[in-house]
């Protein structure tokens, strides 16, 4: 039975048949992404639960925690030699603070009153480098080296 790739998989405006190697790559990518997502969720759910007002000490010590719509965890990407500690508000789409190689980066974009409140509650109370959401996501995925060369 021929495998019919989705539009997003093949990046084409029409549905079309794709080669065996592409099918294998698509399967591999899906499985890998699912595994990463599952691992992140497991790590999140296993983190010690804290109230949001007490989360600051976890952030300062850079330990994983799970608050109310607020959590912090270490992330590692095989393509990068350094791990990063990231504090998220509501989900992986909104990193509030990232710690990488001795520097704290802070998301200065505003989304909602609660997100701003989360930022105040978890601020590590040290000097931070102000970044936009886009740059924060780049730091999380590629490190500050990615921001330095302006990866989109």
């Amino acid at each position: 039975m021929e495998y019919l790739a989705t539009l997003s998989d093949v990046g084409d405006s029409r549905r079309r048949f794709v080669s065996e190697s592409t099918k294998e790559y698509i399967r591999y990518t899906r499985q890998r992404e699912a595994a990463i997502k599952r691992d992140r969720e497991v790590a999140r759910m296993r983190s010690p639960k804290v109230t949001n007002v007490m989360a600051r000490s976890s952030v300062q010590e850079r330990t994983s925690f799970l608050g109310n719509n607020l959590f912090g965890q270490w992330t590692h990407n095989d393509a990068q030699p350094y791990s990063k500690y990231v504090v998220y508000s509501y989900g992986y789409h909104w990193p509030l603070f990232i710690y990488e190689r001795g520097v704290w980066y802070e998301n200065i974009d505003k989304h909602s009153v609660t997100t701003s409140k989360h930022r105040t509650q978890t601020h590590p109370l040290v000097d931070t480098v102000a970044m936009t959401l886009e740059d924060m996501l780049t730091i999380r995925d590629h490190g500050v080296a990615g921001v330095a060369i302006g990866i989109n």
Binding site: Y25, P81, Y82, V103, V129, V144, G150, I151
Partner: protein, 307 residues
């Protein structure tokens, strides 16, 4: 966490100096390379793609297989991408989308092989994702390693000779020493065979001189050095500094340092320690490669200061 940095030289087959590169029109590239570069280009709006000036022949269209990615403000390119079979002695020639950058540690190959800096795939989508993951500012440890591999003689020379040659130069000027190498060899031979000098104090002076010459050949005591790489974040103009400490800077093999031993720390302009700021300011006044006594020097886009 990556356990180590490869011991392989980061040669000029991995990166090129930006001054040697020239931006290239896609019409000169192999169709597959053109496709690859165009797909990657959108992810790197601030980067240029080009080839080495001397290797470029305008008559040969659709022929370029390897394109370097670089930024004008950098000293070295970020890496290259191409469509070829760059494996060492493959059984069969199978071209594939290949990227090469010091940021890659490909465990499929021996860590002492230059292939460990490359990734290859026949799938364009995977190739684009490889480029996005690895083509970025080098890890500061790689930069230090690269500079020490290729420019250590000149950096270490200016670092040490300013200290050592002082004593030697003073002695030579004071005693009026003839520095002809043949004459020096003769003196050394006279000492070795136990020649009795007519003036006994001359023997002491010759021995002292030989000792100074010997000291000059030997590296000075092991010295810890901070290697500082400055760079700017284009989005908010923040000045950043990556600092790597090398404990055995005088060692000929300092570039074989390992990540675990030499982890780097990043500072901003506000958090950079005061003593480093002061030393950088003093070193910057001097010319490139000129050693500032007791402080350090700047060379190849990096600062080297004493701890």
């Amino acid at each position: 966490m990556r356990r180590f940095i490869s011991n392989v030289h980061i040669g000029y087959n991995v990166v090129e100096e930006v001054k040697d590169l020239v931006s290239l029109d896609p019409i000169y590239m192999l169709p597959q390379v053109e496709k690859y570069v165009n797909a990657v280009k959108s992810s790197f709006p601030h980067c240029n793609f080009g080839v080495v000036k001397d290797s470029f022949n305008e008559g040969a269209r659709s022929n370029i297989r390897k394109v370097h990615m670089y930024r004008d403000q950098d000293k070295y390119s970020l890496g290259w991408l191409g469509y070829m079979d760059a494996r060492n002695a493959p059984a069969e020639y199978i071209p594939a989308f290949t990227i090469c950058t010091p940021n890659i540690q490909n465990d499929k190959y021996s860590y002492d092989s230059t292939e460990s800096y490359r990734l290859r795939t026949t799938n364009l989508k995977k190739a684009i994702s490889n480029a996005r993951a690895y083509l970025k500012l080098w890890d500061p440890v790689h930069v230090v390693k690269f500079v020490l591999q290729h420019h250590a003689p000149e950096i270490r020379k200016s670092w040490q000779e300013d200290i050592k040659s002082d004593a030697l130069a003073i002695f030579e000027a004071r005693e009026g020493v003839i520095t002809d190498p043949n004459f020096v060899d003769e003196l050394q031979n006279m000492l070795n065979v136990g020649y009795e000098f007519i003036v006994p104090t001359l023997r002491t002076k010759v021995m002292e001189y030989m000792q100074l010459l010997q000291d000059r050949q030997q590296p000075t005591h092991s010295q810890a050095v901070l290697c500082v790489r400055p760079y700017l974040l284009p989005s908010n103009e923040t000045q950043m500094f990556d600092v790597v400490q090398i404990d055995d800077f005088d060692s000929e093999w300092a570039w074989k340092m390992k990540v675990l031993d030499h982890t780097s720390v990043t500072y901003t302009e506000d958090t950079l320690p005061e003593n480093i700021v002061r030393k950088i300011a003093m070193v910057t006044i001097a010319e490139e490669g000129q050693f500032v006594d007791g402080i350090g020097l700047w060379a190849q886009g990096m600062y080297y200061v004493t701890v």
